[in-house]
């Protein structure tokens, strides 16, 4: 490449970078105007919400904790069951969704589309839709969480399968192993660490999500929070929020411990 061409390429690169930043700035300004965002509004809002937290939410009503035990357990049950079922179904689906193990490209596209549908409809919407069919309660929450867990894990597992070392798989295939044997002996050992890692992460996500879906009728702690807000029992609400936070932190700690030991 000649000197002149190189200079041309450099100029072009610079222009691209400039245009990118200009476009970002323009988009930010436009969005701020359309949403009525302003820094002064941000400030007055902060003052109001601080007042609300200090005068209404504090102090948390610790005597209320006894009646929160059951909803808290419900939250854990829902998240756990959804994770286990989601992981098992997703592991099965991922075999068909990954380019390396799918028996046919069409199957791959179909399963990917299916899992994308489950994953990309927010868990909140699933709960509202399902509540219409099953009524309020933990069953609805659990099913909604299963849907989203399955969708998200199928995608994650499929990607793990696509990143495995095909050399190892090829070597097992070369011994005359059948499709099932290649999966069990060549693919599975490479798949397991990622499988456990992602499933545990899903459990964490489910715990967080279950409080949200509780608010639209999915049961658990979220349901309590929503009910008490409607009754203006803010000190009890803050107790439930505090418990949710503790629950999430404990769950994160436990899953991290397990992850370190397995992987």
């Amino acid at each position: 490449m000649s000197e002149k061409q190189l200079l041309q390429v450099r100029k072009q690169k610079r222009l691209q970078v400039f245009l990118f930043f200009a476009a970002m700035l323009a988009l930010s300004v436009w969005s701020a105007i359309s949403t009525g965002f302003s820094f002064s509004g941000l400030f007055t809002g902060t003052v109001d919400s601080t007042k609300f937290i200090i005068f209404d939410l504090f102090p948390p009503d610790f005597s209320y904790i006894a009646s929160l035990v059951e909803p808290a357990l419900e939250t854990i049950y829902m998240s756990f069951v959804a994770m286990v079922i989601g992981a098992i179904v997703a592991a099965f689906l991922a075999i068909f969704a990954s380019a390396t193990t799918a028996p046919h490209p069409i199957v791959q596209v179909a399963v990917r589309a299916f899992s994308s549908l489950f994953r990309n409809i927010p868990v909140l919407i699933w709960t509202i839709l399902l509540a219409a069919a099953y009524g309020l309660g933990t069953l609805v929450g659990t099913i909604a969480l299963i849907m989203v867990s399955t969708g998200a894990l199928t995608r994650a597992f499929a990607e793990i399968l696509e990143e495995i070392d095909m050399g190892q798989v090829e070597a097992v295939r070369a011994t005359g192993a059948s499709y099932g044997q290649v999966l069990a002996q060549g693919v599975l050992p490479q798949f397991l660490p990622g499988f456990f890692g992602w499933s545990l992460y899903m459990l964490e996500i489910n715990i967080r999500a279950s409080t949200i879906i509780g608010m639209v009728g999915g049961g658990g702690l979220g349901f309590v929070i929503q009910t008490q807000i409607k009754l203006f029992q803010y000190e009890q609400v803050s107790m439930a929020v505090l418990l949710t936070l503790v629950l999430v932190l404990i769950m994160e700690w436990i899953t991290n411990q397990i992850r370190e030991r397995i992987i």
Binding site: D165, G167, A171, V172, T175, G176, A177, P189
Partner: protein, 255 residues
């Protein structure tokens, strides 16, 4: 007796690369054939077409009277289990034990179910122990495969291939990722075992001196075509230059 016949083998990859342009040769029982040629000449594709890790576009590969290219799933399994293969990158299941890796060599002889659930019987395990002792890894049996050094991993690879009780051994650049000392050890193991067991071997190499040391016959490949097939003594400097440089030198000169 002829063990393997390769007839007019052609391979064109979906991206348009023509890797093999009609290769013919035969392998007799017990031969130790080394295939040499520059990178990208099609050595690897040729070897992989023999046990159909790569699907040939045209031509035939006849192994013990069965055409590998046209074989259905069941026949292909039966063909593959009689052809051992070792790889440049060793390709052991890294998270599995050394023993399990060797046992994988028996999968082609097992029912689907037993093979999937690690139900290897005692005699299979005993054979695996013996093979590991034979390649000098008696101490490492229960280690994870990725804890071993490269040379040791390749010896596990040889043991895995031997567990298949193969009639033919394919070795795709078996020493390309090893240091000179380990390379010697591996080539000695591979050569001696194949000779002792009467296993025919097709081995890709790019070190001409190593090829000359071990081969009973050498095949030279250049740009997907066979340009030499003969005894190691017949491989002159001229022919070596032809195999490795041929038209390539001219291309470089023109640039």
């Amino acid at each position: 007796m002829t063990l393997l016949q390769v007839k007019g083998l052609e391979k064109k990859y979906p991206d348009g690369t023509v890797a093999l342009k009609g290769i013919d040769f035969e392998v007799n029982e017990g031969e130790f054939i080394v295939i040499i040629g520059p990178s990208g000449a099609g050595k690897s594709t040729l070897l992989r077409s023999v046990n159909r890790l790569v699907d040939a576009t045209n031509g035939a590969v006849i192994f013990k009277d069965r055409d590998v290219v046209k074989a259905g799933t069941r026949v292909l399994r039966k063909i593959r289990r009689e052809i051992g293969m070792i790889f440049q990158g060793f390709n052991l299941i890294e998270r599995a034990s050394v023993l399990n890796n060797v046992l994988h060599g028996r999968l082609g002889y097992m029912s689907d179910f037993k093979g999937m659930f690690y139900l290897f019987n005692q005699s299979q395990k005993k054979t695996a122990y013996e093979l590991l002792h034979r390649v000098g890894l008696g101490e490492q049996i229960y280690k994870r495969a990725d804890e071993l050094s490269g040379g040791q991993q390749q010896r596990v690879g040889i043991a895995r291939a031997l567990a298949q009780k193969p009639a033919l051994m394919l070795a795709d650049e078996p020493i390309a990722s090893l240091d000179p000392v380990s390379s010697n050890v591996i080539m000695d193991y591979l050569y001696n075992i194949c000779r002792e067991e009467g296993i025919a071997c097709l081995c890709n190499l790019h070190q001409v001196d190593v090829a000359k040391k071990y081969a009973t016959r050498i095949i030279g490949i250049h740009a997907g075509e066979k340009v030499f097939d003969g005894k190691p003594e017949e491989l002159t400097e001229d022919i070596i230059n032809q195999i490795y440089h041929n038209k390539k030198k001219e291309l470089v000169a023109n640039e």
